[in-house]
């Protein structure tokens, strides 16, 4: 469960960071958000990634925690990419 919570935080973080890219946000929302909104998304996204890092290190220690965090980010990014690919294919 601990592992999944960390991954979920990373997934939310990567999804939020994807909104900061005009191309990806347009795909998800239909229109690119305003610059200020995208700036807010990037703050939230990095905060979520930071909390995922903190959670992994708190649960597994520094070494194993960092490895766990990188695996979270990698597979969260994959999920976001596949979600965007589905959107691109379907709509």
């Amino acid at each position: 469960m601990t592992f999944l919570i960390g991954w979920f935080l990373a997934l939310l973080g990567m999804l939020t960071l994807a909104f900061t890219q005009a191309k990806q946000a347009k795909l998800l929302f239909g229109a690119a958000p305003a610059a200020s909104t995208r700036w807010a998304f990037s703050i939230v996204g990095y905060a979520l990634l930071f909390s995922s890092t903190y959670q992994a290190i708190a649960a597994y220690g520094l070494g194993v925690g960092l490895v766990t965090f990188f695996s979270h980010v990698c597979f969260a990014a994959w999920c976001v990419s596949l979600l965007l690919t589905c959107r691109r294919t379907l709509f």
Partner: protein, 551 residues
Amino acid sequence: MSNPTGLHGAFRQSMAWLHTWSGLVFAILLYFVFVTGTFGYFTYEIDHWMQPELPSRDEIPSNAEMAELALRHIETDLASQEGELTRYFIGLPTSRTYQYLMAFANLAELNADGEGFIREDLNPVSGVPVSDVARDTSGGSILYRMHYALHYMPYEAAYYTVGLATLFMFLAMITGVVTHKKIFADFFTLRLGKGQRTWLDAHNMTSVLALPFMLMITYSGLLFFLVEYSPGTMILTIGVDRGAMQELSSHRYPEADLKDATGVFAVSPAMKDLIAYVEHEWADDQIRYIEINSPGEDNSIITFGAVDQGLYRDRGFTVMRFNATTGEVLAEDPSRPLDSEFYQSALGLHEGRFANYWLRWAYFASGLLGCGMIATGLLLWAKKRRALVKTGMPIPRSVTIMERVNLGTIVGLPLGVAAYFWANRMLPVQFEGRAEWEIHCLFLVWALSFLHAGAREIKLAWREQVGALAAMCLLLPVMNALTTEAHLGNSLAAGDWERAGFDLTSLVFGLALCAIWPRLTSSSTVSDEPTSVENAEEVTGLTAQANKAGV
């Protein structure tokens, strides 16, 4: 007039060229290393599946009982066969390696085979040698070993070859990052159904999203044979004599002065009491091994090694020592120097032995992404060159050969691995040399897939090989059920998730291949038709982009 591309553009182009060729030269070997290495993350689980006669985790007795079994085996069977023994070593099953109980002893004199030791793996429940009760197999460990030692060639030649390939891969990754202009803009981008563009996106995604893993695995892979790869450094810094090597070893792995006792546990303690004491002291840790030096002598020392915590788990550095005669608890080893900690952590990172099951699956999936990165790079190279051929022009021989080599590599090797697992179930249990024949089957099927790719029309060959691989994956659990009692129904009912996981993973791979299979009819891994003149411009544009992206 200045160069329109500028110095920056020229540099990027140079890096793109270097990326292409440094990646391509050793691509087949690297694919082999990645495929076999990826299976290596589940070495023990594959071992478990390949020896269905051995017990599942629930049946494993306590450490004290297993130590008793192993000691009895060493002191009676091994001592009667080999004479005087100077050191006993008992490898206890851990949460992952629960299948074997290892009994190992050093001999006072070399035996008839010229060896100074004897080793036997025992069934941890009965204490009977595994070779007497379970089928002979190369197991998952040979797949792991092959990823750095290859097969059918001398060990030294193999690790130097793999080292060179790893160095090239490291170069390809660094140049790939330099070349990739839109690394952040394209971060989440995978455009399906767009031919060459799709393969370029897939290549970028498999590489960029798993970049931390790729960099770590190549860099730490080079560190494994650090001394062998840079012998000059060793010679220049510490010399070549044996004393200097020992000095380096004691710097890396310092040991306590064993005269310093820190307390008395008991007088002439029994093994089961020592185990109970150590299990109490180490709380959650598991005992990984027990070592008895100079057994029966006054100065005999018993050492317990733990499953280490942190990145270098399972390397056996946390120890507790006792004077076997007086029961004194001896001084702890001093901590290792920082360079040694870094080195061991890097090796631990590479092997991922610390990983829980979630993280282990992440390692496995990252390994698959590595395979995907190499496969898409190979396919893109061939597609790019084929796309440049205009209607009516002959396809260059290099392109057609490469397309067939790609198929034999990308699908042929997994076919070989599947054949390896099939051989484990199909070869008769009493078959002489069956462990080696399992490996022969892997390479025979792999060689056949190259022949098949060369003999058939390429599109058909893709369909047939992917179809065969899908069938082999889907039918492997069926073959398991027909030949053993450890089939999916039984393993699920018994909660034996290692064996069940193997069968289920095979099914998932089979289903994924079935999903891909119909697409092979319409597109995509290869196109037989040369590019029409009207499309040539678009293709050239994409090719230029691929060039810039370094593929």
